[in-house]
Symmetry: D2
Subunit: 343 residues, 4 copies
Amino acid sequence: MKRIPVGILGATGAVGQKFVRLLEHHPQFFCAELVASERSSGKRYTDACNWIEDTDIPEQVRSMTVKGVDEPLESPLLFSGLDSSVARDFERTYAEKGHIVISNASSHRMESDVPLLIPEVNIDHLRLIEKQTTPGKIITNSNCVTMFLALVCAPIHRELEITSIYVSSMQAVSGAGFPGVASLSILDNVIPYIKNEEEKLETEPRRILGTLKEDRVVPASFPISAQCNRIPVINGHVMTLNISVKNSVPVEDLSTLLSEFSGYPQKQKLFSAPTSPVIVHKDPFSPQIRKCISHSMSASVGRIRSCSNVDYKMVVAGHNTVRGAAGAALLNAEAYLAKGYTL
Amino acid sequence: MKRIPVGILGATGAVGQKFVRLLEHHPQFFCAELVASERSSGKRYTDACNWIEDTDIPEQVRSMTVKGVDEPLESPLLFSGLDSSVARDFERTYAEKGHIVISNASSHRMESDVPLLIPEVNIDHLRLIEKQTTPGKIITNSNCVTMFLALVCAPIHRELEITSIYVSSMQAVSGAGFPGVASLSILDNVIPYIKNEEEKLETEPRRILGTLKEDRVVPASFPISAQCNRIPVINGHVMTLNISVKNSVPVEDLSTLLSEFSGYPQKQKLFSAPTSPVIVHKDPFSPQIRKCISHSMSASVGRIRSCSNVDYKMVVAGHNTVRGAAGAALLNAEAYLAKGYTL
Amino acid sequence: MKRIPVGILGATGAVGQKFVRLLEHHPQFFCAELVASERSSGKRYTDACNWIEDTDIPEQVRSMTVKGVDEPLESPLLFSGLDSSVARDFERTYAEKGHIVISNASSHRMESDVPLLIPEVNIDHLRLIEKQTTPGKIITNSNCVTMFLALVCAPIHRELEITSIYVSSMQAVSGAGFPGVASLSILDNVIPYIKNEEEKLETEPRRILGTLKEDRVVPASFPISAQCNRIPVINGHVMTLNISVKNSVPVEDLSTLLSEFSGYPQKQKLFSAPTSPVIVHKDPFSPQIRKCISHSMSASVGRIRSCSNVDYKMVVAGHNTVRGAAGAALLNAEAYLAKGYTL
Amino acid sequence: MKRIPVGILGATGAVGQKFVRLLEHHPQFFCAELVASERSSGKRYTDACNWIEDTDIPEQVRSMTVKGVDEPLESPLLFSGLDSSVARDFERTYAEKGHIVISNASSHRMESDVPLLIPEVNIDHLRLIEKQTTPGKIITNSNCVTMFLALVCAPIHRELEITSIYVSSMQAVSGAGFPGVASLSILDNVIPYIKNEEEKLETEPRRILGTLKEDRVVPASFPISAQCNRIPVINGHVMTLNISVKNSVPVEDLSTLLSEFSGYPQKQKLFSAPTSPVIVHKDPFSPQIRKCISHSMSASVGRIRSCSNVDYKMVVAGHNTVRGAAGAALLNAEAYLAKGYTL
């Protein structure tokens, strides 16, 4: 099978680099165009980019010349790691020119005709793109920490109907991109505030777990109360959850429900799909990000137990720049093609 | 005024060292006896002790000979930093011999005739000691993370009547003592479990905020749901809270209620009493442990805001080995004396 | 080809776990016996072991029963991750019983008939085993930080004749095993002392780079001045070197000499052999352990430049528990077999 | 005594903030003017400044309005924490306008008529200012890591005559200012390169330890070979030294020489002067930055021992933003006044 040429928007940034890395051995896609801001365009990728991944820059892209955001692109499929401050307009423009834009930015996530897609959870939302009037389309994935909340809550909400969620997060510095958080700010510290993060975490999951009615997403009705904190770890977001449901089941059954959760990517055996979207840990000391998230596309959940106030409490962890960002976008592109949409 | 000779039980441990440090310039007490396990007894303190404080060992105790737990002590007042595994029996024995034991251990906290004392919050509980039948008495302070929850919730409960609490904590490694948490376990990691910690955090605050009826504490009735995590910071516990109350007031009023909170130690101007037991931060990036807890006896609270699920949410931080341990015990001893009890 | 059953001594420790992990997909060996102290013997590996690797325990060993050090073993080949305090006697005993012991412990390294082997550097030293009078044999690899010094200095010494070395190291906490260094000791700190480490680093490289004369190793004569420090990183030892040589060449030539260095494992294409034992970095910000050592069997060297005092200075980094420990032992076993020795 | 009004150049930066903090309780100086770039000028200090110190902003400066670098200043004495990129011109201009500029920037350090002053070491160099033709004067302190090398080497050079130095440093992130080093770059990592740092460390100590001949500094002649590394600690620079001398003495005598070292600030009992400029540690695990540098104005030295290659090796540590920056400048100003120079 011939691999599809793809472009990466924001290719020199932290998410862009993760796209480059994850695409290196991808069976369907190959990195054909690297796009970045004016400051980088015209340079060799290896010169334009302050590479922060812990593997070498893939041979194939090393000497590729970075294109500017204003240059025409040939790749039908674009992965966007653009900063939200510029993503709105650029992504729209690329869609107008006929590209399929698989975006990790927050700009278009809440628009009524843009799928906020997690293929295991709401693959049916993908058909929102049919309402988009541009020749190309925009498909988005969720905020990094939202991803893990949504993956864990999806089977719970489907079977037990969630009525409220409390979430308190501990988030890695890589979530802020590069240079992101100053070491002088975060070493030996906790920063109890991440701009706009709680708003995303309180609204995105409800759209993701919402139901499609007459081609509109009716958001799930349960409220989410979020508190987001930055802690001195490199990769991996962790959160504690308290969840109340309408139809409570014993903790053991909830645990089974989560470990047996599976969706479209698993059925279709998509390349980036994890075997299990949710991995359940029984050891009380798990999940630990250092041990469980290594380039994983799963959410890890542990310490599932009864709560004195609501029905359940538990801990969830995941890799914020893999499943929480670039990996999520790759899976979305794979699902788009598997569903028979064309480029 | 002549300073009172005091003994430190568990003097070579992490809490014991903090006692030694905090006593160095104390106007009422001086360190007269250092007590530790067999392994250390008979040695000079400076040889017995793997000193971990960031100041020098106070001159006065350097060459003091460490006594064993089985040796008779002369100091009427003892501060106990004993490990809970041995504290129960030793502290009881010292009380039987007539010593006033101010304990940081968890062993006796929930006994009906032992005050679990935070002088700002429940100074009236102190009179439980009158029910103790031993010649000496035992007075305890709370678990480290409980302290900050209790300080913040005390004025809220008194004025608004708390009906439920959700707490998710991020706790420093110093809370586990020395050697405590292996660096290989916690660097770049979160450990989502601390043995027995959630149990303490779910029960101790209710006793502390309970009411004295016929010389028994009737615990506060609100349930607490706790999730405790260890993170890679040295000192300082941080927690996010969600609180529901019976009589809600606007956020601004809650904020005022907290910043104006004051109690017995403030009125009596006790030496270890902070000016304000609760410091309210307005900047959304506060409180940060690196900036706000420096040997402080206060709880710092910030990000007080409405919650979509219950009434309020907020972040609380404090110094776990100062106000959360040794400093709390010192304040308890000062309150004991201020109340007119004798040694 | 049938895989050879091997035993791991000290299987529950940090090095033992790395052996288990590296053997999972090894084409020549498979983990047949796990041996540990009395405390662990009789238990399932998964219960006996506080697994600290960031991958799952390999399926194959999960439910294997751990054997005691006093039980007879069937595997002809044993990898020893025993603590040096017990390695001397146990390893000797196993050799007496006919096992080939590939040891990572320091106990036997300096014995006249035991090869202190780095196959790229001194494969000829392997024949020292022929002087061992036991039915089995003992082969050792070097101390972790010594490994990277020796790999880099080998080609320099061979071509230019080293006359003195200054080395200052920054070593990861994993080098101290588990639990090893307390987090309370090392977070936000440098510990400027590692017991016995400087002695090893000042003597082992001279033996490794020594010449075989009449079946004895005559150590290289240059002196090494070592200063070893522990820093708060998880994996990866870094060191700065100053090197004086007899026959100086331009820096560029030295750089070429290092990058072209290759030895027996490369020629024989041994499974654990890196393509290049020494990788030369040109970017002044390299080598960085976070980026270059990922489970690598190479030493990384960078910032090669002239020194105002002696000939050269440079920075060297490597993975202390892979090439610096378990991986080194695996390569030694592969070299042993490639050389035609039997089990 | 009336306190002298001083201005702080670069008042919102990391060094500027340290000036503000150290001046809070200074008996001779008080902070009268805060100067920063255009971006900050006109704002209240508390709004202009991202305060990173771990104490509160001193009450006195909170609502002070920040002045621009082009505004005329009234304070006769200015402390400069300006970035080197702009310090050259601005400091010169202020000196032309008659201000005494006590600078922490590197711009003017190597100019023939500017003292690179460490009052314990080269107080006689101060008279170089008499050669400056401007109405005001410029006095500089050394680079942060240079300071600790110079303090330790001064008594050695004076008594034993140093003939060469090897230094390998481990430097805290605060040395790079704010925002400085990205957390994503340095967490769990070592960066083996700090731009321009080795050049400073190889030249500044020679000027500092140089001798004044006919109003010119003749630099000390020994060569210094420096290798500088950034490690993940907040405050505190550590370095290993190898030193060769002309007139060797036993290690014990060297140790005494260092601990008895004292200079002009000690004699004059200047406010910022430490009791001992060099503190000698005997415990091999010392000096540790977490334990010994707490806002200290001393260099800490430990592990003094013989070296196989040259005469001595040892470890040195110090607080890079206190003695290595703002504190050094304060001491220089105090020495300037003590020497009878006027404002």
